[in-house]
Symmetry: C2
Subunit: 350 residues, 2 copies
């Protein structure tokens, strides 16, 4: 079945609704109490969700949180993630003269592009270090279990580099260390920079404006709101109080403990339904307000995120697709998670 959303996330969401219907049609009580939250803003960072969750914590009270989104990896095994990255995204704008000038005037008139570049270089040095005060202080250490999960993940440098179109990683990092860096370290990335004239022709202009966009991928427990204020202070402290800074959105990082029964439930359900060991990752490199994030917002209840889409399901493309067998197994996967969770709550073993 082809069409945008067939997997991401209509197919995924429907698995849960069909599982609930299947229990009901069979005249069987639900194995546990289920509260369903639909969020239509996930692709734009779910900006309305935090306030809504904070306003409805009693309604949302639960023992565990789960999201279904995305799908299988290339190895044709279900993926289960126990966290996601945070994000802080800002645009910074510097101004010089009232309008662009003949570049000969650069001897007397400050170029805002130089000022912005000098500020950026103070923010992040060639060694990769990010110089926001306290930036690294709040980072939650990698646990033994998380590292162990990475070691079992079968990270392949050559395959990853081929996929990314590079021949080496920063600092020559490799193997499990590269995988750990991808999932457990924050970064400060220049997502855009524009000033002056870069089109056809030879315009030697002194630009009146320069702007850049920075995105910080964050890890637990860095607080994007604290860092936003720190960044503003950093600019002020480095002679750039006149720079405008626009908050273009942020997402909290999330990470759930691996040594809990709910993690076992989700992994066991995948094993039972698919007859294979799932791909598990202790946290994700991308950002989103999903199951594990919700678990964090609800006081750190056990949480996980997984999905049922077929391998290479072409998320967001016009020819995104769902394979019906994967959809039907997805319903079984959802139902099995709840059955196991219900047994566990009753004192059974998974």
């Amino acid at each position: 079945m082809y069409g945008r959303g067939t997997t991401d996330a209509k197919g995924n969401l429907l698995c849960h609704l069909r599982a609930i219907a299947a229990f009901r049609d069979a005249g069987v009580d639900l194995p546990c109490s289920i509260k369903v939250v639909f969020d239509g803003e996930e692709e734009s960072g779910s900006p309305s969700l935090p306030a809504w969750v904070r306003a409805n914590t009693d309604l949302l009270k639960a023992d565990a949180a789960l999201s279904f989104d995305g799908g299988f990896g290339g190895s044709n095994r279900p993926r289960i993630s126990f966290g996601s990255s945070g994000l802080l995204f800002v645009e910074i704008r510097a101004r010089g003269a009232e309008q662009d000038l003949h570049s000969a005037r650069a001897r007397l008139v400050q170029n805002p592009a130089w000022r912005l570049i000098w500020a950026l270089t103070q923010l992040k040095t060639p060694d990769g270090r990010i110089h926001l005060p306290g930036f690294y202080d709040a980072i939650r250490p990698v646990t033994h279990l998380e590292r162990e999960m990475l070691e079992q993940a079968g990270w392949d440098d050559a395959a990853q580099q081929r996929d990314l179109g590079v021949t080496e990683f920063i600092d020559g990092v490799s193997g499990v260390d590269a995988h750990e860096r991808l999932l457990f370290t924050p970064t400060c990335n220049i997502a855009g920079f524009a000033t002056g004239w870069m089109g056809e022709g030879h315009k030697t202009v002194l630009p009146s404006r320069a702007a850049c966009r920075l995105d910080f991928r964050l890890v637990a427990d860095q607080d994007p709101n604290v860092l936003l204020a720190t960044l503003r202070q950093f600019l002020d402290d480095h002679g750039c109080a006149d720079f405008e800074m626009e908050d273009m959105g942020s997402i909290e990082a999330s990470r759930t403990a691996l040594d809990n029964a709910f993690a076992d439930v989700v992994i066991d359900a995948a094993r039972q339904v698919y007859g294979a060991q799932p791909e598990t990752q202790p946290t994700g490199d991308a950002s989103g307000r999903q199951g594990v994030w919700l678990g964090g917002m609800l006081g750190g209840i056990p949480a996980a995120g997984t999905g049922v889409g077929p391998p290479a399901w072409r998320g967001h493309a016009a020819d995104e697709f769902m394979v019906l067998d994967y959809y039907r197994n997805g319903i079984r996967y959802a139902a099995r998670i709840w059955e196991l969770f219900g047994q566990q709550s009753l004192g059974g073993t998974s």
Copy 2:
């Protein structure tokens, strides 16, 4: 008379042709031998001119060089310049992965925008210093006469700042020092920088490419070709040997001596024709291969550049104009320069 080129430079050029015709029509010998060079590429830096001049130095042999281009200043006095800035214009391109990536990958994949920014910061520091080896070594000192000419020019900080749309100059420089800096110091200007996504929407991308354009305004006797090679070496030496660098054009700086009889001739001719002291400047902030440049190419013969267009003649705009009185006076100006030059060559005084 309105139209592109009515002043710059058709009106200016015609003054000389009409002056020659006037001598002929009056049955009078030309007061001196005149060689006329028309260059149709001035607005794009006259890229073909240097090779042609080098191939025709015998043909061009002369005692002085003069160009007519541009026109009067706001004070309604003719401007005479005894030099012009040089220029080196380059585009530098850095590459990262084969294509743009999700910005979460910035933890493992180098961002070419960061590399380019770090290189630029090493090239020019916040104190304005340009760190190309030897960059400042070849600079010809400002002479007493040149400084004196600046002191007489009536530089007005407030008027200049209003005109440029700024409230202060770099380093708080002011007065004649500001004027000297504008005319006698080189700079390195970011004329453009582009990477990633700066359009509508929130794309947190790890760019695969970043590019910038730098223009260096040069002063006598900095050699743009030497600096081009030095810049390439600088990039190589700072870990950027993989950066592409494109030479987008260069122009040699020029400056002629002020203590020579030809300078007196041009100034006296202006005084006599316009009944006013001309605006003289020892060199110009803009770049071009014009009269003084040609004088330098011909072994450093005395040279000058001036023009006859009316104040605010709107150069290059669709409504550029020439006022007929200015055109007619321009013919007299051209003729008077040659008469005075002829007298001088015959041992007369100006």
